[in-house]
Symmetry: C2
Subunit: 135 residues, 2 copies
DNA sequence: CTGCATCCACGAAGATACTG
DNA sequence: CAGTATCTTCGTGGATGCAG
């Protein structure tokens, strides 16, 4: 079962917000320059964008095309492998949009519950009662 | 367009390796105890598991059931909302398994290319030639 | 415009210990 | 067994500067 480690490593590498956001961006706009990506992905730093793009390129998910002009013109696009991942990524993004409200609601409920459980502090179904002991 | 920020926040929260691995684990084994999850998810620390489970609970993706016995017996399972996410998560894991080899291959190719580009250092299609200038 | 290196700060995450 | 808190460490990631 050591072979599974590779899949695990790949999951950890790709299950990362910048990776996801870049793939999603290139899904909507097939060819984007470095600066174009920066505009579309809010709050991504120069460094993280470059770093993540290098990883995606190395993993064969993104292709980098340099046009030899000055100033440099570099385009990024998904490879066929990248597009196969895009399907899942798109679905994932759609899920968040669909269920955003439910999650928000769950959070409110959880927070409300948490706050009432702090104050009253009332005795409840004592876990230490003899009928509940096992060991 | 401030509403989009919520989806973005949710993506960042869920696109995290521990979240994914926990959801996947609960997809394979619907009811798991804390210790059961630790066994199934390799190299997860006590702390990160607890922390991520609290988040998943708060987000309404995981339900926590405490059986009042001693020692405590706590079970975790996906909520309906969690199961709806499971579909995508499962697909994502399947993708990594299916394309692991291709990624490995792309990495080798990339690394090989990178190393040969270091040594020879040969003059190539000068980007500074007049016909390439724009500004 | 793009890319890489450096420096630095902050938060994430591990180890440990203690409560219920 | 499960959970939380504390402490410390380590890496991520931001800011900046420089080069091509």
């Amino acid at each position: 079962m050591r072979a599974n480690g590779l899949a695990r490593e790949l999951i950890e590498r790709i299950a990362d917000k910048w990776t996801l956001l870049i793939v999603a961006a290139l899904g909507e706009e097939p060819k984007l320059r470095f600066s174009g990506l920066r505009e579309r992905i809010e709050r991504v730093s120069h460094k993280m964008l470059a770093q993540t793009l290098r990883q995606l390129e190395r993993d064969g998910l993104v292709m980098r095309t340099v046009h030899p002009v000055v100033p440099p013109h570099v385009e990024y696009q998904l490879t066929p492998l990248g597009r196969s991942l895009l399907v899942t990524v798109t679905e994932f993004c759609a899920w968040t949009r669909r269920h955003m409200a439910e999650v928000e609601q769950a959070r409110s409920a959880y927070d409300a519950r948490a706050s009432v459980e702090d104050a009253p502090e009332r005795a409840e179904s004592s876990p230490l009662a003899p009928e509940n002991l096992r060991g």
